[in-house]
Symmetry: C2
Amino acid sequence: MEITFKAINDPTRREILVFLIGGAQNAGEIAKQFSMSKPSISHHLDLLKQGNLILAEKKGQYIIYSLNRSGFELVHGWFQGFTQYFEFPKPKIRL
Amino acid sequence: MEITFKAINDPTRREILVFLIGGAQNAGEIAKQFSMSKPSISHHLDLLKQGNLILAEKKGQYIIYSLNRSGFELVHGWFQGFTQYFEFPKPKIRL
DNA sequence: TAAATATTTAGACATTCGTTTAAATATTTA
DNA sequence: TAAATATTTAAACGAATGTCTAAATATTTA
């Protein structure tokens, strides 16, 4: 919980998540999107992984990153209480 | 956007938000819930207000805090892209 | 096996963050 | 108007965060 919110807190990490909506990518391709060193991006990817927001799969010398449902569900679940408070339509999550 | 995510990032601030689901409260009542100085809580309330997650209304010598829809809608909107990616049911927000 | 490529780990450093105590402001009550 | 109550503002400080460069690890290619 704590680490997931922390992971979402940084703007670069949020941009990485949005970028991955377009599909899985390796670390190098992700890093190309940002004017920031590769080690910095690597660190951000690590935090997103810790927050269960992305998955990492090693494919040869590359590491492919993709969005991970579980972190998003955690946050989504936390927000449900407020969603109800404001009378948004009940979400009825399909798992 | 940035300030709203930042506001949500801290565990004490998230607890304050959850506490306010139970209804509006003045600063003193909120502070009582936490083993932390009043100035700290005051600071957290300020950040939540900046993030449009709570509203502050002065009532005599008290300040009444309550949940603010707009900050939650901002975050909810940001998550919609992922919600769709994971094929959650479409939220159809009622404004 | 040596060189090249992909990515991470380690260490350093400035900035931001959360907390505290003390002081200031605003409102109500005696 | 003076004292009490509610809350914030200010200043200080240690801890956490994000970034960088340099070095290490792993894999592929020549």
